[in-house]
């Protein structure tokens, strides 16, 4: 059943995915005057998921299995961190790779629908930390560390060397060429300061929805405080230079996922609450890495960097209403030529029709034929590129190490010229007009 639909949006249209992958690195601007590396336009894109209520529950289940990280979704919802406010639209958690680069995958997917497999965001983060003036990032990080519970309560005292070592380590962690991270993952996992730097590269706020405690999976008892949740504002930019619709990410079990809205899902407001509903009161989400003067004008900063609206919500006592702050969210604005959700939705509709026919036929014939048997050849696609140089497509289980097109071409060539065993040149390959290269 899981194979009926591709397991990621990008698999629905490789050409579009290649186009996005080509455009993103070109969009990064690296000023020579010391200003932080940043995106010129592409940071303003936002992805929205199509609604699924028109499909029957069984097929809806298939869609959700394919795209949605239901564990994180369920955990955050049960903790009342996600989708607790009925006045705002529901957010869904999309799946991301757990290779240590999930923060970047989640961010990239929120904006463009593809994961950061080419490490565009990761490289931008690393080069920013290596090549630009990071003293203010370090300064904010030190301030936040000093204010943290650990420093305040235990009297931790770092000297210059400790701070420098820690900072160097944070920079190293952002690197892309770590052969194998400490945790056994492909890349080193990233931390709060990396989110802050990233939101400055993107000139767009990032809101992380997360529990405040690392809990035991068995007993639910608290292990350690989790500080990652909260609001990250691109404070190294004047607000008027930034995009005011935030990127919303979920964090649970050491993993980041994008939390996207559902398109045309209902009359609810497209927004995310800036408070947590916690133990009988509304608690403001933490704004990370503020300096002391900024902390005093936190409300003003929030209004400058986000589109803050007030939403009435039901209080705990019967008949009471509270006004809470929420940040307005962007709607889907990806141009057609790079909008992967459209293609995926078309594929879903196509598969749904086939699935319905098969189920109908199965019911009529009365035998136990699997209605969800994969029928389209592209569903056997693997997550590895075709071996043909410069081919933008992915290999499939049946045609590996080539993609379908190259495999077909090779077969034809072999039939025509059985003695020649030459590979097709890249100029003849489909998709090469895009100038695809990796």
């Amino acid at each position: 059943a899981e194979q009926v639909l591709p397991q990621a949006l990008y698999l629905s249209n490789m050409r579009k995915a290649v186009k996005i992958r080509e455009r993103t690195p070109e969009d990064i601007f690296k000023p020579t005057n010391g200003i932080i590396h940043h995106f010129k336009t592409m940071h303003r894109y936002t992805l929205e998921m199509f609604r699924t209520c028109q499909f029957c529950p069984q097929f809806r289940e298939i869609i959700h299995k394919a795209l949605i990280d239901r564990n994180i979704q369920a955990t955050l919802e049960s903790q009342k961190k996600l989708n607790w406010c009925r006045e705002v639209r529901k957010l869904v958690a999309l799946k991301t790779n757990g290779d240590g680069n999930c923060l970047m995958h989640a961010t990239s997917q929120y904006m463009w629908g593809v994961q950061d497999t080419d490490l565009v965001l990761r490289k931008a983060l690393f080069s920013t930390l290596k090549e630009t003036d990071t003293r203010n990032f370090k300064f904010r990080w030190q301030l936040e560390s000093l204010k943290s519970q650990e420093f305040v309560e235990t009297g931790l005292c770092y000297d210059t060397r400790n701070w420098n070592d820690e900072w160097d380590n944070l920079i190293k962690m952002a690197s892309t060429d770590t052969p194998m991270a400490r945790s056994g993952l492909q890349y080193n996992s990233l931390e709060e300061i990396h989110i802050f730097v990233l939101c400055n590269i993107l000139r767009r706020p990032i809101i992380v929805i997360s529990d405040k405690m690392l809990r035991s999976l068995e007993s639910g008892s608290n292990f350690a405080p989790l500080k990652v949740g909260g609001i990250y504002l691109p404070l190294h930019w004047p607000a008027q230079e930034c995009y005011r619709y935030p990127i919303v990410l979920g964090y649970d079990s050491h993993h980041f996922v994008p939390l996207v809205t559902l398109k045309d899902s209902g009359p609810e407001i497209r927004a995310v609450p800036l408070v947590n509903r916690d133990r009988g009161r509304f608690e403001d989400l933490k704004v990370h890495f503020l300096t002391d003067p900024e902390n005093e004008m936190k409300e003003k900063l929030l209004k400058e960097y986000l589109m803050v609206i007030e939403i009435p919500v039901q209080g705990w006592d019967h008949g009471t209403t509270h006004l809470i702050n929420a940040a307005k969210l962007d709607e889907a604005n990806l141009p057609k030529e790079i909008n992967l959700v459209d293609d995926y939705f078309e594929l879903v509709q196509h598969e749904y029709k086939k699935w319905q026919e098969n189920s109908e036929q199965g019911r009529r014939e009365g035998h136990a034929q699997n209605p969800m048997e994969p029928s389209v050849p592209q569903l056997s696609l693997m997550d590895v590129k075709c071996e043909t140089p410069n081919c933008p497509f992915f290999m499939s289980v049946n045609t590996q190490p080539l993609c379908h097109e190259c495999s077909e071409r090779r077969q034809k060539n072999q039939n025509k010229l059985p003695k020649l065993n030459s590979k097709p040149g890249p100029e003849g390959l489909p998709g090469m007009a895009l100038g695809a290269s990796r």
């Binding site: 650990e150 210059t160 996992s189 230079e241």
Partner: protein, 351 residues
């Protein structure tokens, strides 16, 4: 330019006493990059002299004078001797040599880094949450009333500590305190002093003020971040804002000039039949209608004085025009539409 200077660096420690050898160069381990060549006295802007144990001549002399008045007070703090290993060293840090100091910090960090399972996916060893959960109480960075036993090995302890009659004041510390160290053993005293300093700073002003006291604040109004010379003393945000403001001003001035010129044209034609010099700052009447500039502006060198020959045009470069952005000190150029390169680049980026 460092965000944080070592708190524990106390110049009081290294006064007086014989030096086994003068320091040859400032250790990068002890000095931050930008203060490497500065005198060790806090806030002193002068360059150090290696012959004066890292002080400038002025501070050195002052200290010599001070030391001669109070010799007993500082005798126990011998900068030429490590208080931990008792070896003669060129430089000490908190009374101990760099090797001993490194060893203590290495021991502390290794015990901390191994204290948590590697499964913490998003956390690095930099995460203080790891430190707080450390089962090992032997941390040199840990402090407080219930602070643990000393964090140096037995070998690293000085006999001086053991000569005291009572145990170290710190609860749980097995070593002996000395009256000079207010009843603490050497290392607990260092901890005590660091934390006292920190607590005092956090009690009076911002807790971070003492840690970032040597940094340059951003020139922007009400900005609490650090400034950068690269951004003319501003932080990046204030720099961009200042640039934006500059451009708005430039644009406004340009428009004002244009509109005033438009207004002036009919007025001048009405008031006088003779045209004025085209230079904005000049109000001279043109001698000849076909010329744009008056004689004075055409030959500014002639205004120099009587020595200049009136009839001979002085060879001169075309006058450089200022950047069109009013607050900018640079020269503009035609290639950049009258702006300087920097402002032009900025205008292209954000304007």
């Amino acid at each position: 330019g460092e965000a944080y200077e070592p708190l524990a660096w106390n110049p009081e420690e290294s006064t007086g006493g014989p030096h086994s050898a003068p320091p040859t160069a400032p250790s990068p381990f002890l000095f931050s990059e930008t203060t490497a060549m500065k005198c060790r006295s806090p806030g002193c802007p002068f360059t150090l002299n290696v012959q004066h144990n890292g002080f400038c001549e002025r501070c050195h002399n002052a200290r010599q004078l001070h030391a001669s008045h109070a010799p007993d007070h500082t005798r126990h703090l011998d900068p030429g001797k490590c208080q931990a290993c008792l070896q003669d060293v060129t430089r000490t840090f908190n009374g101990i040599c760099s090797t001993c100091f490194k060893r203590t910090t290495a021991e502390a960090s290794s015990s901390l880094s191994t204290s948590l399972p590697p499964s913490c996916h998003q956390r690095s060893k930099s995460d203080p949450s790891r430190l707080v959960r450390s089962p090992s109480p032997h941390s040199c960075h840990r402090a407080g009333n219930d602070a643990p036993a000393g964090c140096l090995s037995q070998a690293a302890r000085t006999p001086g500590d053991r000569t005291g009659t009572s145990k170290c004041r710190k609860a749980g510390c097995v070593y002996f305190g000395t009256p000079e160290n207010k009843g603490f053993c050497t290392l607990c005293f260092i901890e005590y002093r660091e934390n006292k300093h920190f607590a005092a700073a956090s009690g009076k002003v911002s807790p971070t003020a003492s840690r970032f006291q040597n940094t340059i604040p951003c020139l922007g109004r009400e900005c609490g971040t650090l400034g950068s010379t690269m951004f003319e003393g501003y932080c990046q945000k204030c720099f961009i804002e200042a640039q934006n403001q500059r451009f708005h001003e430039a644009k406004r001035t340009e428009e004002q000039l244009r509109s005033s010129q438009r207004r002036d044209v009919p007025r001048t034609t009405q008031s006088t039949s003779r045209p004025k010099c085209a230079r904005a700052s000049c109000k001279n009447i043109l001698a000849c209608r076909s010329e744009e500039l008056c004689m004075e502006c055409q030959h500014p060198n002639q205004r120099m004085g009587p020595g200049a020959h009136r009839g001979e045009p002085a060879p001169e470069d075309p006058p450089k025009q200022r950047c069109r952005a009013p607050a900018c000190d640079h020269f503009g150029n035609a290639k950049c539409n009258g702006y300087c390169n920097e402002c032009f680049q900025f205008k292209q980026m954000y304007g």
